[in-house]
Symmetry: C2
Subunit: 461 residues, 2 copies
């Protein structure tokens, strides 16, 4: 009986063994770089290079054909030229491999629809499922499988699925530089077989994945995708870029993937209905995913801003209000609860502790916000003069944050002056963002998620 | 006769000697950190610490009072407690110093209007002009004067003036991390004397400054500022954040600086009239300034996008169109001129050279764009797979760019995979931005600048 797409994706992403068909000992060749990434990445299972012309590649015994591999093979990574893919797939079928990832390009994306149809037929006849073709491969950081030519990013709880391999690669490099980790990476390219909906269904059941981030240009089967997204959103946040928003961008997407990207408004409506949180840019996508992966959804949109400097908090207020979030003043009662603060501090919102802010003040004000029913989210901002150590304040914020039942995020803006403090914060699950706009967008995602969850709860009751 | 504010600012920023009043040998004190920054920054003129209780500070002879310094003093950096500032200013007046920067806080920003009025009176009586109080100091990278407690950023051609010292510090740290340099930094705080207009008038005549970037919360003298900005814009681009845009942000600004920030729409209109290019965020501010500092203004808004990967170029198209820029298809004639490209490439716009792009193709396509009258700006995008060296393509782009009479910017997105290529590009004045949105915003600034210049030329004729 044919395995479900979920089982097949499990074979591909959690394989007991991996083969690279088209492996090469020649540096710069895709079949070399992917094999090297798998070996150097630390994947612990058996690795089988397949290449009829080589005996050993990267000190591993190479096989003339997948048929010659003496053991069972779960994941097959295919990097041979496009005209050889059909034959390779046929052999994979006979070998009864678990699933195939076709990196090779040269199919529907350049008009070779017949060739793509052919490989789908062969795969189907052999009860084999395919990721790709024309993709950048897959990553599972849990078993250290880096079956891709892209950056070896570290582990985290965000799964990233992308239609564009190049965008995926650029995004991974960007995320790695921002010290963001991932659980899974699935570049699905032309998705001639396994598609967006299959991947969503797999990721929603993946224990390592807390948030699903997606880059989408166009959908193969919109209806099925939306059904899967609706189910997924109930369990985990789904954040997605849908590019090709402008008609010009849509034309560009058409010439790029051959797929019509659809009216932008239609997507907006569909995303809203299914609970997908829409991102506009790579930074958005990962910032929102980061916030959602380590902070609870928000019960409302009343934001408290705690700062040690006026200017940045003015910008934060602007950025929040622009996203329809609220920055209300505290009640008289709450202001009274803040009378322990020195005269110089502002007890309005933003609550400004001034340059003389102490770690204790940060901690106590956050406790007051945590205990009040006036605010739904706290933002901790901090700008140190060049010679002030910010670690202690970071620790004070992290301490309160770990007991807080409402979301807290940080906007510590000063680049390498706060690197260590940010590590302390993020080590305790307080996500940090380097600018007010990016922070506000992450906060907005927590509010959107909360709104969706409370709406779907009330729909159920 | 009283010196003009421009002459006084010259005394402060290009001094023949500097005194730090309130200098201290105690690490962590502002008077210590600023002195240390001046010494370690490499300022070559005489440096005079002033502190009645110390004999030597950082191996420099210390003086009991500014009156005891045997030589003339140009710039006086004042870091004493607020209640001592009036007396210090009186002594500075008697000493006939060139100008004063008052770092000390505790004036109008916390309601001490009387104390601020007093220091203005004393300064005026002594024909002395003041930057500050409540500011983060000044930097001139040309003479290596870092009279501030903020990051020692490297030289460049962007001048950065900021009302908020903390925002200024955070922005400098951010800019340094992005490898952006500056010409001057002027944190003007409560601007009780020298104000935004004075600073603009100084910077517009500063040879090191090609672009003026400003962070503004509210203006002291709006009319005069706008007149100065109008004059400045004719000679150099002025890019500004005006924060407190929302009514909540405006309330936050009021409680922070005590100044009313004014209606946002009024600012929008005024900025448009005077040619100020409005930024929303720190990244915007520096991205736009960077583009304007090294590329010519654009003659129009028709953008050519050159890429080696579809996905990122679809996002770029979306981002450009969102800012009302155009991404038109090439004419048949121009498509014909691109027939040297392999079949697999897309000769529409974005022009997609695919993953097999060569440096030569990048160069030749850019030459075609440069020579056509169909496009006003070229964007070069590039996403390397992890193992591809991008330096050669960087060199090819930089080569054509140096002969181009229209603007070119780069969007090489892959973080540390393209660090060296980006250095090659930026070394040849092709500014790079890490995401499509940020690139599009920088391109928009070049178009805005061009629109303003052609409008003001036609107003003249």
């Amino acid at each position: 009986m044919q395995k479900s797409s979920k089982e097949q994706l499990r074979s591909i992403l959690e394989p007991r063994s991996v083969a690279v068909i088209g492996a090469s000992s020649k540096s710069g060749k895709i079949g070399h770089e992917i094999l090297k990434n798998i070996v150097e990445g630390g994947y612990a299972g058996p690795i089988y290079p397949v290449n009829p012309h080589e005996e050993f590649i990267l000190a591993l015994k190479s096989f003339k054909s997948i048929m010659d591999v003496p053991d069972d093979v779960d994941a097959c990574i295919i990097t041979v030229p496009p005209h050889l893919v059909a034959q390779v797939l046929d052999e994979c079928g006979k070998k009864k491999v678990g699933g195939a990832v076709i990196i090779s390009a040269g199919f529907s994306e350049i008009g070779n629809f017949d060739l793509e149809r052919l490989i789908v037929e062969i795969a189907s006849k052999n009860e084999l499922r395919i990721v790709g073709p024309n993709c950048a491969g897959i990553i599972n950081t849990q078993n250290k499988l880096y079956a891709t030519m892209e950056s070896r990013i570290g582990p985290g709880s965000i799964a990233f699925m992308t239609q564009s391999g190049a965008l995926g690669g650029a995004a991974l490099a960007w995320a790695r530089q921002e010290r963001i980790g991932i659980s899974k990476f699935i570049s699905y390219g032309n998705r001639c077989d396994i598609d967006e909906a299959d991947i969503l269904e797999y990721l929603v059941e993946d224990d390592q994945t807390k948030v699903i981030a997606a880059y989408i240009e166009g959908l193969r089967n919109g209806r099925r995708f939306l059904d899967s997204a609706r189910d997924a959103s109930k369990k985990k946040p789904v954040v997605a870029i849908k590019s090709g928003a402008s008609s010009e961008g849509s034309r560009a997407a058409l010439s790029h993937t051959g797929s019509l990207s659809g009216s932008d408004r239609v997507y907006d409506g569909a995303f809203l209905q299914t609970g997908i949180i829409r991102a506009e840019e790579i930074d958005d996508l990962f910032d929102m995913s980061k916030a959602l992966s380590c902070q609870p959804a928000s019960r409302g949109k009343r934001i408290a801003v705690l700062t040690n400097s006026g200017g940045p908090s003015v910008m934060m207020t602007d950025a929040l209000v622009k996203l329809n979030l609220e920055v209300p003043e505290p009640s008289t009662q709450m202001k009274d609860a803040l009378t322990f603060l020195p005269e110089i501090c502002s007890r309005k919102n933003p609550i400004d502790l001034t340059a003389e802010a102490t770690p204790e003040q940060y901690g106590k004000v956050l406790e007051t916000i945590a205990g009040s029913n006036e605010y739904d989210i706290a933002i901790s901002m901090f700008v140190p003069p060049a010679f002030v150590k910010s670690e202690e304040t970071g620790r004070a914020v992290a301490e309160v944050a770990s007991d807080m039942s409402k979301p807290i995020v940080a906007c510590w803006m000063s680049g390498d002056l706060v690197t260590e403090a940010v590590q302390i914060l993020e080590g305790r699950h307080v996500p940090n963002f380097p600018t007010p706009r990016r922070t506000a967008k992450a906060v907005w995602a927590l509010v959107e998620r909360g709104t969706y969850l409370s709406k779907s709860r009330s729909d159920l009751s």
